[in-house]
Subunit: 296 residues, 3 copies
């Protein structure tokens, strides 16, 4: 599988596996291990997590599986996040990007994963109460201690990215954002432009719009389904999912879609999408179906 | 006529002639030549085109007229654009800013104009599927070959401009944007600010709002007409068109309005507007009529 | 009181006194002097003005009070603004950031304050008709002549700030913006991010939302009042005003709230807010009450 370079000694697999629903799958650690190994066979080596996924349980579930075969750690990249505190644990949902919380969260993540380093740590959400000097101190300390190799952000808009970057001595390596044929906001508002300008490949969450395209009855979803169905047939693809993944994969920003499924077949179809020769006209056909009007 | 410096050896006439409706005028090549010579007498030396104007015909119409008097080529600046593919030719309207298409489009434009160089080539619209590395390669090759002297963009927002610029070894020389007393979007959203920051004078399309101000019944148009009529009288101008042009011409961003008319009288009145001493209070009077409320 | 560093030899008191309603208080010059001295006792040394406050009268009222005790001038920082022309004096409200007007306005301010220097001059509003070269010339001349020590802006968005800054040889030292728990626009749109990125502490106007929070019946105001009331009790504060000030004061951007009151008690409570240990969860509780929904 194609690999994307994020830093001198860091590459990600073009397709990333996401664990935000890992707990819901109710897998045993053997089953999770099996899923990880299936991903590796497919060429997927990058695994996306967050401290809070599964109400603070997914990192551990993944770590327990990994502990069954410790040699796997060197073959994968672990991405995790911090900065959100959930109501379940803290009474009121809020963000915390204090130095203290970032470091404590990473220490807990290391324990959960049974590893001694995180490949990339992301700030989960732009925090309107962020003290960028504290974030910089936390990142610098974690890097120096070898606990986190690289840093990035998630859901950051341009002003937020530029602001935080200005406090760091090293470049942020990615911005994990929501993009899909259904959700164009980050294309429209210049967030993807900034990724291209800064030469950072975005990780992409909800590449299938959380399933909305398959089930929703709103006009946009209906229009999109029709177009995707037609283009699926033109391309000889098996599912419109593949077309949706291809729509991201052919984009010049080197988007890395996160596949959040525990089913091997659904992981495979994302991988198959890498070979789908979606053409420029088809890309715009899908775009315009989503917009609901012709481009100007 | 005042000339605006865009690069060390490139100046534009303050008023630019635009050819997007050239085909509709149904002029013979002699008539088009006459129009070009009329422009030159008025001091207008810069002519704005696009590959797609008149459904891919306007460049040729202009080129045929130019061929009647080849010595004119050295006296004018030709601006043209590429990057849009029309449904009439391509089945589905879409953008194409691939290296291949940019170069092919310029080659066709050179043939159409019967010239061996374009003064300034613009990317017609921000392309959400743009590969800026390909654009940079195309621009660099065309520059090296002497086929295009300078490059710019059209309708680019700040993030799009900064992104593309970051891939180029030379500065973009203009951004062609829509601005008029009726259409304030590019003033409101910071696009004009960016032109000032980057020291690039914007070319301005639809300086008369495509005629909306003269005919539309919406409240904004009615308010504007009243104010323009009053200020026309204060200034002793003959038409509100002149006031609309003056509103752009007195702005510090060195806006270069594009006059898209085939009628000599309408070209003349844009030129006359250069001498209209529109005062700051009047500029704000017009602005506030457009906004529909007082400035804060 | 904590002091905020804006430049090598310029600090402001964390709480700033604002004079935009100075005329309405109908104070004698002795009373105004008493108010100034009260502020100084509290540690407030920075006084915010504008040429136009009180329909061009507030600077003089303050200056007359200052003249009663000239030794005070060296103990305070005077901030004033220019760039708005009111209808009362000019027939039509408009902006004027011409070199001529900036310089004339400062000369008048110096007379009004009976001083020979202004500490910081702000452009009052982003002027869509601004000629940044003229602003730069005016600033440079005023600085050279010692009439103004430092320069800033007010109500500038990111594109406006970056544009003007690019014409200046010295950094703007502040952006005076509206921020309160009720008015989140400048947090949402990246203006506060830019302040952090540029390392400039913002002066904050309407920190209590002009009283809306106390009296308005809209859902947002009602929600906010409830939350502020609850948190006031949690913190043992006396008024929700203190909680509102604290909400700004604990923010990492080093916001400097402007207290625009002539009543000593209301000034004191802003000062008391400096010691209110508002916690992160409480900050977000207030934020979410204002937004009307949970953070994502």
């Amino acid at each position: 599988m194609e690999r994307i370079c994020l830093a001198e000694d860091l590459t990600f697999s073009r397709i990333i596996h996401g664990s935000w629903r890992l707990r819901e799958w109710n897998y045993s650690k053997e089953q999770i291990l099996d899923l990880i190994e299936f991903c590796l066979e497919q060429g997927i080596t990058t695994f996306d997590h967050a401290d809070i996924y599964g109400n603070y349980t997914c990192e551990s579930l993944f770590g327990e599986a990994l502990a069954l075969k410790p040699s796997l750690r060197g073959q994968i990249e672990i991405v995790t996040k911090c900065g959100i505190k959930l109501a379940s644990k803290y009474g009121l949902k809020h963000y915390d990007t204090s130095k203290e919380h970032i470091i404590a969260s990473v220490h807990q993540s290391l324990k959960n994963f049974r590893t001694d380093y995180i490949d990339v740590l992301l700030i989960h959400r732009p925090d309107p109460f962020m003290n960028p000097e504290e974030v910089a101190e936390a990142f610098t300390q974690l890097k120096k201690e070898g606990k986190v190799r690289y840093f990035g952000v998630s859901n950051f808009k341009r002003s937020q990215f530029n602001m935080l970057q200005s406090y760091l001595d090293f470049p942020l390596v990615t911005n994990q954002i929501e993009v899909s044929a259904y959700h164009l906001e980050n294309i429209d508002d210049g967030t993807v432009d900034l990724c291209l300008e800064k030469r950072i490949p975005p990780m992409v969450w909800s590449p299938l719009a959380g399933g909305k395209i398959f089930t929703a009855d709103d006009e946009k979803a209906v229009r999109l389904r029709d177009t995707l169905e037609r283009i699926k047939n033109e391309l000889g693809a098996e599912t419109i999912d593949e077309v949706l993944y291809a729509w991201l994969l052919v984009h010049p920003a080197r988007m890395m879609p996160i596949v959040g499924s525990g089913k091997k077949e659904r992981i495979s179809l994302a991988v198959r999408a890498l070979k789908l020769p979606l053409r420029r006209e088809q890309w715009f056909d899908i775009l315009q179906s989503s917009m609901g009007h012709e481009i100007p």
